[in-house]
């Protein structure tokens, strides 16, 4: 029987043609049809002890939701997903399944694993398209109140979990829209904003209150929240852009990835002048860094009309931290890779706009602390690279806004909040934290995993007092 099942190959998901999509902001993968989804779902062996689940930071019942798709019970499938995740449509799109659930799938040992992410996306999209409003059942009200600071993946996971456990939850968000990195960071063509909004609306229907335009640390302090709420969860993200600290960095046309993506995504500068926020549209773009944020920036630049977009990275292709799928998508669309290259100076024109950067060629030496081979500059290899737009995507640091205004909240030497790994508890009583403000820049799903852990600990505290 098992042999017969393996004969069905892993189902591909149709995508927009690279030459077409590099000119629009519509979503790149188009999703499964019901027929394809059922076929893919039929590949799942329904293991009694499913190893895929242990690869999921929020422990979704993977065989469970896939089995329901196979039976055509889409509404049951989404209900099963929502038991464990507040963001199925998001996770189905942006999780690195290839290093989590799918890498543990038994089918992967001999062939290709079940396309768990694509099926999750399918179930969520079907529910949304059909207007399926199935809400998971919530426990009776406990009368306890929780404040969540930041509406990104960690925050909404805590909110979703605790509201279902009967606690009142209010989310404080600094921006005018909820979703955190899902709305300001990840571009429309990877994660349509209507989908994020839909997931936020789902939480609101469950009773989660969103307080937008509230900067905790400025508008209200954590200590003030503790007067009104029984517990506080801090998930404000990393939120401090890293710059290179080299001459010319403040020239016009040099953006942090945070600014570039926020202008385009949250403020919809790609729709200027219909939307009022402007953005520099480069013709010859260099993106510094090679992680997922760099890929998002590069692909955004193409869609904003660039003729040429280069990823400039000081190490080699092997060390690029972006997901293979993102690199592949970018390459298909025409993003070029300029490897073993490191800028040392930005050069501007008479109006203070960047026109080129002086770079050094690099070579790889011995592995460094990160285990990757250390890039070493080759002396005298200086050369000039023309560019009219530079996006710096070399990571982010800890934004001190909340930690510096909250006495008792301890941070490590990089400014990230100290929180217990098993509980998310900080050193400050009744305060938990999770996501990038604890771990440093990571993925959506890891932040959600941290949210799940903290929510369990918070629930224990709210129920039993510890």
């Amino acid at each position: 029987m098992a042999e017969k099942k393996e004969k069905t190959p892993r189902q591909a998901m149709p995508e927009q043609d690279p030459q077409v999509r590099r000119n629009n902001f519509d979503e790149v993968p188009l999703g499964y049809s019901p027929e394809t989804a059922q076929l893919e779902a039929s590949r799942c062996l329904q293991c009694k002890k499913p190893s895929c689940v242990s690869g999921c930071p929020v422990e979704i019942d993977i065989p469970g939701f896939i089995g329901l798709i196979k039976e055509g019970d889409y509404s049951g499938s989404i209900a099963k997903l929502k038991e464990m995740t507040a963001l199925p449509a998001v996770c189905g799109r942006v999780c690195p399944q290839e290093v989590q659930c799918e890498t543990l799938c038994v089918l992967g040992k001999k062939g290709e694993p079940v396309a768990i992410g694509r099926l999750e996306r399918f179930a969520a999209d079907m529910a949304r398209e059909k207007g399926d409003q199935t809400l998971p059942a919530a426990a009776p009200k406990t009368g306890k109140k929780v404040a969540v600071v930041g509406s990104g993946p960690a925050g909404v996971t805590v909110a979703g979990d605790l509201i279902l456990k009967g606690h009142d939850v209010t989310i404080f968000e600094a921006f005018h829209k909820a979703g955190g990195v899902l709305v300001y960071g990840i571009p429309e063509f990877r994660l349509p904003k209507a989908i994020v909004q839909d997931e936020m609306d789902g939480l609101a229907k469950l009773g989660v209150v969103f307080e937008l335009n509230q900067v905790v640390g400025r508008t209200v302090s954590v200590d003030e929240l503790l007067e009104e709420y029984d517990a506080v969860f801090i998930s404000v993200g990393a939120g401090l852009p890293s710059f290179l600290g080299i001459p010319g960095e403040n020239l016009i046309g040099i953006y942090s990835a945070n600014e570039y993506l926020t202008r385009s995504n949250l403020m919809k500068a790609y729709l200027f002048p219909e939307y009022d926020t402007p953005i520099v549209r480069g013709k010859n773009v260099c993106v510094l860094g090679a992680g997922n944020v760099a890929m998002d920036s590069a692909r955004t630049a193409l869609r904003l009309g660039a003729d040429r977009v280069r990823i400039v990275y000081r190490r080699s292709r092997e060390e690029m931290p972006a997901r293979a799928e993102e690199i592949h998508h970018g390459e298909e669309e025409g993003v070029e890779f300029y490897l073993l290259t490191n800028p040392v100076t930005f050069i501007g024109d008479e109006n203070g706009r960047v026109k080129s950067m002086e770079c050094l060629k690099m070579e790889l030496g011995e592995p460094d602390d990160s285990g990757r081979r250390r890039p070493i500059p080759i002396e005298g290899s200086n050369f000039e690279l023309e560019t009219d737009l530079v996006v710096i995507a070399v990571g982010a640091g800890a934004n001190p806004l909340i930690t510096s205004t909250t006495p008792g909240l301890e941070v490590n030497k990089w400014g990230y909040i100290l929180a217990e790994e098993e509980t998310g508890k900080t050193r400050k009583p009744r305060v938990w934290a999770g996501g990038d403000i604890v771990t440093g820049q990571a993925t959506v799903i890891l932040a959600m995993g941290a949210g799940r852990i903290a929510a369990n600990s918070m629930h224990q505290y709210l129920t039993w007092g510890w």
Binding site: L212, N213, T277, P278
Partner: protein
């Protein structure tokens, strides 16, 4: 929505004053801090230093010059209407303390609105505060009465001599710097060239000077770095570390360039806005 309770056109309609209902912000705002406002769904986030606050009434006052599409859109908002989004108070408050010498607050154009609460704050702290305010001509002068009340001494200048001293605020400032009374601190807000020349002059006299910068921003919480400015050779973020910096350390030329980043697009947006107004699309 953040409702507009009062609206006044100043300086022949080129400057608008709004009193806005924002009780939470009013309750905690301090002199020198700013808010970010956004008119509607498609709007831009614009940082504006508060000109006044009234914690009892739960209101804040903003005063802005109509310079482009976004401020033209703000201008079209009437009493009873309002801003979709308002965030604040942001930035570091002015460090207000008692000085043994004069505190001089210099305001040029709408910069006068920025120095107004600061002037008031220093006076309430028991300082002798000189206000020097200027504009191109008499018609464009704003807040003369308010600044008179907020200070212990006031000097008015106009570029064309149509009112007060004929000349720049720096001319009047110089008379104080050269005068007998000790000057402890100068605070300046206004067009970048004005802040630059004020800072140059006070540097010669060795008088500490704070300038309030109006960098371009998005989030206002230190996340995007769009508002970065060079101060003493170091990159600082206006939104969280400012908006006030040591005027003797600020790279004003770089600031001027960065403020011009979107000039062409701003023009395009304004032309479209004017056109849409004429054919009634904005109704």
């Amino acid at each position: 929505m953040f409702k507009i309770l009062e609206r006044e056109e100043m300086a022949q309609g080129t400057v608008i004053k709004n009193v806005i209902e924002a009780p939470k912000v009013a309750a905690r705002a301090k002199p020198g801090q700013f808010v970010i406002i956004k008119a509607n769904e498609t709007g831009e986030r614009i940082p504006l230093t508060m000109a006044d606050t009234d914690p009892k009434k739960g209101t804040i006052t903003i005063i802005y010059q109509v310079v482009g599409k976004s401020t033209a859109l703000f201008k079209s908002l009437q009493v009873g209407e309002g801003y979709q989004d308002l965030l604040g108070p942001l930035g570091q408050p002015t460090h207000i303390e008692k000085h043994d010498g004069l505190v001089i607050c210099v305001g040029g154009g709408t910069g006068t609105a920025v120095v107004h609460p600061i002037t008031k704050g220093f006076k309430e702290e028991g300082n002798e505060v000189v206000a020097i305010i200027g504009s191109r001509n008499k018609d464009l002068l704003i807040l003369e009465d308010e600044m008179t009340a907020a200070s212990t001494e006031i000097k008015v200048c106009t570029d064309d001599g149509s009112y007060g001293h004929h000349g720049f605020v720096t001319d009047v400032l110089k008379t104080y710097l050269e005068g007998d009374r000790k000057v402890s601190l100068v605070v300046a807000a206004g067009p970048v060239p004005m802040m630059k020349f004020v800072s140059k002059m006070t540097e010669e006299f060795g008088v500490k000077t704070l300038v309030s910068l109006n960098s371009i921003m998005i989030d206002g919480t230190g996340m995007c770095g769009g508002c970065r400015v060079s101060v003493g050779g170091k990159t600082r973020f206006t939104c969280v570390e400012g908006p006030e910096f040591d005027g003797h350390q600020v790279d004003f030329d770089e600031l001027t360039q960065r403020l011009s980043a979107y000039q062409q697009m701003e023009k395009e947006a304004m032309e479209k806005f004017d056109h849409d107004c004429k054919i009634g699309l904005n109704k």
